[in-house]
Symmetry: C2
Subunit: 365 residues, 2 copies
Amino acid sequence: MHADHASTVTVTTPGGRYDIRIGGGLLADAASWQGLPAAAHAVIVSNPVVNALYGDALHSALSGAYPRVSRVLLPDGEAYKDWNSLNLVFDHLLAQGCDRKTVLFALGGGVVGDMAGFAAASYMRGVPFVQVPTTLLAQVDSSVGGKTAINHPLGKNMIGAFYQPARVVCDLATLATLPPRELSAGLAEVIKYGPIADMAFFDWIEAHIDALRAGDRAALAHAVRRSCEIKAEVVGQDERESGLRAILNFGHTFGHAIEAGMGYGAWLHGEGVGCGMVLASALSAELGLVPAAFVERVARLVERAGLPVQAPSMPGARWLELMRVDKKAEAGSIRFVLIEEPGRAAVRPAPDELVLRVIARHTAA
Amino acid sequence: MHADHASTVTVTTPGGRYDIRIGGGLLADAASWQGLPAAAHAVIVSNPVVNALYGDALHSALSGAYPRVSRVLLPDGEAYKDWNSLNLVFDHLLAQGCDRKTVLFALGGGVVGDMAGFAAASYMRGVPFVQVPTTLLAQVDSSVGGKTAINHPLGKNMIGAFYQPARVVCDLATLATLPPRELSAGLAEVIKYGPIADMAFFDWIEAHIDALRAGDRAALAHAVRRSCEIKAEVVGQDERESGLRAILNFGHTFGHAIEAGMGYGAWLHGEGVGCGMVLASALSAELGLVPAAFVERVARLVERAGLPVQAPSMPGARWLELMRVDKKAEAGSIRFVLIEEPGRAAVRPAPDELVLRVIARHTAA
């Protein structure tokens, strides 16, 4: 089997150099799994939904490269991205007598990738792992760059590690089975790369948003590749988010507050980010950085992607409390990724009253 | 206040370069805490016993360098080196609104250091931490080199990270309050450095074992410094235990099996290691690597240090099962740190029947 629309993006960080392979049909192609670290045992970490669709194909493909292949399934959804689920992986690895060379394969979306990645970072203080993202969100964002984590009741992604995968394999064919709501959620992270880094890409997304939502393979191939290129460029300059990398969190401070405030799972991560980008753009306009027309343009594309542009109703104090626990917050002041001019972002603090005014203006009555 | 018998050993690894400061009275000396990463908040992680003895002194000393200092206390003992205890640290950090710059101070023995270190490695994907070891075992071994972990019901230190501290501060004065049994347990890790790296140091320990057990400050200063020098040298060459570093686990494969088999806490870690070094030396002799007289010499020094030299009674199959889960095990074969000649060690597999014969010969009737 040969992959269609195939391309490779390379990520280079102090924590490792690895390839992102992008194409249709990569999962079942033995060539996708050659050249990885040798081991007696490969473990596929997935969830029941994705496993039913792609578990057997990956299992077969890996059987050529590893003497033993086993699977561990985690409950599906952001609400289960916690220690109990993580421990299912450790239980499996120890029960199977897995050693330090065991390679983990994260087959699924962002939740599976984050948990399998943190399990790999922590098991025996670190074993190799491979990201096999099957959602658009994971292909364009969460599987690239080595951020792994679980949630804590008091905050999202609060416990984790920077730990780079040995490879990322994005099979575009898996996007065909993605529910439309999840495809839209992934488009939020694609759209994100425009305002922070590349307005020509934003133009392209505007022109192809309908093709993307319809699952056009060529359009998706370009969107995934260009997103991965921008992410690889940013992560290569700042693996541990001491500066530049934070711009990738455009829309995320508002988005995380929405996700946590509404209860994990009520809003998808990408939905929170979509709405969050509108709020962050509006805050940038409020501070005089971008014109109101830019906010309109972002909101229009977010809406066309099938994402919410109105914030949910929460008391102002609750918004501030939820945003203050964000990892970008330091010593009390809330910091946001703001657009300094279309195509360029920076992290800046903003006064609480301005933030609350922007939220109020974008909340559904 | 000025430290007596003061010296500094520097550790250089890919994960960071940091100083180990050794001396009497360092804890209350403001100079010990200068030059660390700046932060709004310092958090002391300790246990109730150590906190009662040294918590206030460290708290005061840190108050000069950090606007806010708080403490979180973990239950005392290896049996509590688990996720529940670790989560107490995360709960505290999040409840206090601690950001990514917060510095953690591990005040206590190996259990506190391992847990505070893993908490620091994982909180918001990594915050700085400082080791302030108050036991001999922690000063000569566990606080140096960046190994952090918690236990899993199926194995010791199975979940953790390689994460280097920003500094290690060994206050020799804290050893004065150490119970004799714990001082002996620490001596096991001091003795360890002889057979694996430096027989002249082994000679010196033989000549000073009584002074060390009596708490002689000058003898302890030399033992801690020389141990840290050897450990720094080994860790500098192999931070992530891909090869050489494994020799630091001399006696540990047997020792971990004893600890786990008897129930964590029944045998102290150092007691398991003491007995384990006798077994590993005997296994080395059985394989023709060292003479029987060398085994006798190791056993004699272990005994004079106040440590057990007879293995506890466990079925052979249980021994093998417990040792097979050790992190050095790969694909089923059990590997041991063996002495190739006095002062030089290597990791080698050994046949099960030989291992069981050595255990049987060293088990109390």
